[in-house]
């Protein structure tokens, strides 16, 4: 592996990103992903608008807790999860169905480089969409808080919370993206892997300590800046045996992603074009 190879691969990944990002963002079949990503923001902006209209004073602590609950139980577990199903399962499978994947396979690009380019395009797409959703939701909370309270919050750890939420969202895209990229090679019907992973992720609180680590949600929950109290009907989802420290959670999640990508690279090397059977 020399400098020329690296330069070539970089140029090839850039060219793949150029094609894929445009396709991912503008795909008509992906409109529901935008809706999922923006649903919490829309709710929070409506809530903010009503508070401002009625001159009600916002309880920042309560709104933060509502956001933390929504972030952990809806955004990470459902919105980002299904958004990644929509984007990453289609990176290869979608082009198989459209019968256009062969154009990539007929270029002098290593299959692993193609995989890396497509995966990176998926991560960029989902991160932009879902981080925008997270940022808009947080903005809606802060916009209707008295300025002094907002400034105090931001100066006392609020910025760290925002960075943690955005970082966790991005890591969710990295983790779930790698899982669904691999699943796209293993299953033809996207409902099957989506259901299997959803069951596995939902069962995480009840799994033995070792198996918990073989999931994405375990690390994401460990990274959430505000813990949600275990109460109500969904209390069991908030139970986290022993949350991992942030550095271990990030490392663990990246490790899970690397393992999935390694298996995906093995599958992409064996990939054959046989559109007739799709």
């Amino acid at each position: 592996m020399n400098r020329a190879s690296w330069n070539l691969w970089r140029a090839q990944v850039a060219a793949i990103l150029r094609l894929e990002i445009k396709k991912n963002f503008l795909a008509r079949r992906g409109i529901w992903i935008y809706l999922l990503a923006l649903a919490p923001a829309v709710l929070m902006w409506v809530h903010a608008a009503m508070n401002l209209r009625d001159h009600r004073v916002c309880d920042l602590g309560r709104d933060n807790l509502i956001f933390a609950t929504m972030f952990q139980f809806f955004y990470l577990r459902l919105a980002v999860f299904f958004g990644c199903v929509g984007v990453f399962l289609n990176l290869f499978r979608g082009e198989m169905l459209e019968k256009s994947l062969h154009y990539y396979l007929l270029t002098p690009v290593r299959r692993e480089v193609l995989l890396a380019g497509k995966y990176l395009a998926g991560v960029i797409t989902t991160s932009v969409i879902f981080c925008t959703g997270t940022a808009l939701t947080l903005a809606a909370i802060l916009i209707h808080v008295p300025h002094a309270a907002a400034a105090q919050y931001l100066l006392n750890g609020g910025v760290g919370h925002i960075v943690a939420y955005l970082g966790t969202t991005m890591l969710a895209c990295v983790g779930y993206g790698s899982v669904f990229l691999l699943m796209g090679f293993l299953f033809r019907n996207p409902i099957v892997p989506a259901a299997l992973v959803l069951i596995w992720e939902s069962a995480n609180p009840f799994l033995p300590a070792l198996l918990k680590k073989l999931s994405v949600i375990f690390y994401l929950q460990s990274l959430s800046p505000i813990s949600v109290p275990a109460q109500g009907d969904f209390a069991f989802l908030a139970i986290l045996g022993e949350p991992a420290p942030a550095y271990l959670a990030v490392t663990g999640l990246l490790l899970v992603a690397c393992v999935c990508l390694w298996f995906a690279a093995r599958k992409v090397r064996q990939l054959e074009i046989n559109y007739g059977t799709e």
């Binding site: 140029a11 094609l19 396709k23 154009y103 290593r110 054959e272 046989n274």
Partner: protein
């Protein structure tokens, strides 16, 4: 493995229990090689195997010394125009070629130049900035051809490349293939339009039910079909007089007057000997105008080896 040719060594491909091709041994030299056979005979399977889109169940393939499972090396000198009439969504003809040249790793300026050069070669300059979705079938075929040729490959694999082209463009495209072959390229074409195959091919590979039935230059293939005596058309005056003398030759198995009455169709098992003896047989008052093989073409060989309805013999 040869570094100058395309070789298949005992290659088989099965799709589950279904046979794609079986025990194919081929050596394809530069020039135009046509893969000929009925639907399902294995033409596309062979092309997909040599470009790595599918992998052989058994055997080895080499394209100028490179195995098809090394796309990073293979597609620097190989282009493949597939039969799939599908394109990435929303692209113009220009974007389609340019984008994939960037995936090749070409710098922007070079990619632009190569794109325009390929588009001009297939005469689509005016439509270059139109969406492919609005192209006619013939235009889509031409933009695929341009995309396969854009990086100036030394091996060009073309699956039914003349499909959908009107007669004028068809003639221009055939001329393009000829010029590429004269430049020393390996041009491998599959086609079911036999008279065109006959006109453009330097060699043919006849396939039936996944097996290679015959390969080589068409004349060589024809002479090997011993169960069908060679047919020779003799244009002459007084063909009936000549026919009566021709029956004296023991190599002649059939002689009949041509439908237009101005010639004779002769079937012989030994054409070389027949040509030698023909001058001696010419009787007074018979003027020979021409003597030429009448079934030394792809169509005849196809009918003899594969059958007129495409079924294998």
């Amino acid at each position: 493995m040869s570094e100058n040719g395309i070789t298949f060594e005992n290659v088989s491909k099965f799709y589950g229990d279904v046979l794609g091709v079986n025990r194919v041994n081929l050596s394809i030299p530069p020039g135009i090689t046509s893969l000929v056979g009925p639907n399902g005979s294995g033409k596309t399977t062979l092309m997909n195997l040599m470009t790595g889109l599918i992998r052989p169940t058994e055997g080895r393939i080499s394209i100028l010394g490179v195995a098809p499972d090394q796309p990073d090396r293979l597609f620097n000198f190989t282009g493949y125009c597939t039969q799939f009439d599908s394109f990435p969504r929303g692209m113009t003809g220009y974007q389609f070629i340019y984008s994939y040249l960037l995936v090749h790793g070409k710098p922007h300026v070079e990619a632009e130049d190569l794109t325009w050069s390929a588009i001009e070669r297939v005469k689509l300059t005016d439509a270059a900035h139109r969406k492919i979705a609005g192209y006619s079938k013939g235009m889509r075929q031409r933009i695929k051809l341009a995309q396969a040729m854009a990086h100036a490959p030394r091996v060009l694999v073309l699956d039914e490349p003349l499909n959908g082209l009107d007669p004028l463009v068809r003639a221009e495209t055939i001329a393009l293939f000829r010029s590429l072959a004269e430049e020393g390229l390996h041009v491998i074409i599959s086609s079911h339009i036999l008279h065109e195959v006959d006109a453009i091919s330097d060699q043919v590979v006849l396939l039936s039910s996944g097996y290679v039935v015959a390969e080589g230059q068409i004349h060589g293939v024809r002479t090997e079909v011993e169960e069908h005596p060679m047919q020779i058309l003799i244009r002459c005056t007084r063909p009936s007089a000549l026919a009566s003398r021709i029956f004296e030759l023991d190599t002649v198995v059939e002689a009949r007057l041509h439908n237009d009455g101005k010639g004779l169709l002769v079937r012989t098992r030994d054409p070389d000997r027949f040509y030698l003896m023909l001058n001696r047989l010419v009787v007074d008052g018979v003027d020979l105008e021409s003597v030429a093989p009448a079934d030394d073409d792809v169509l005849s060989v196809y009918e003899y080896l594969i059958g007129p309805d495409g079924g294998s013999i």
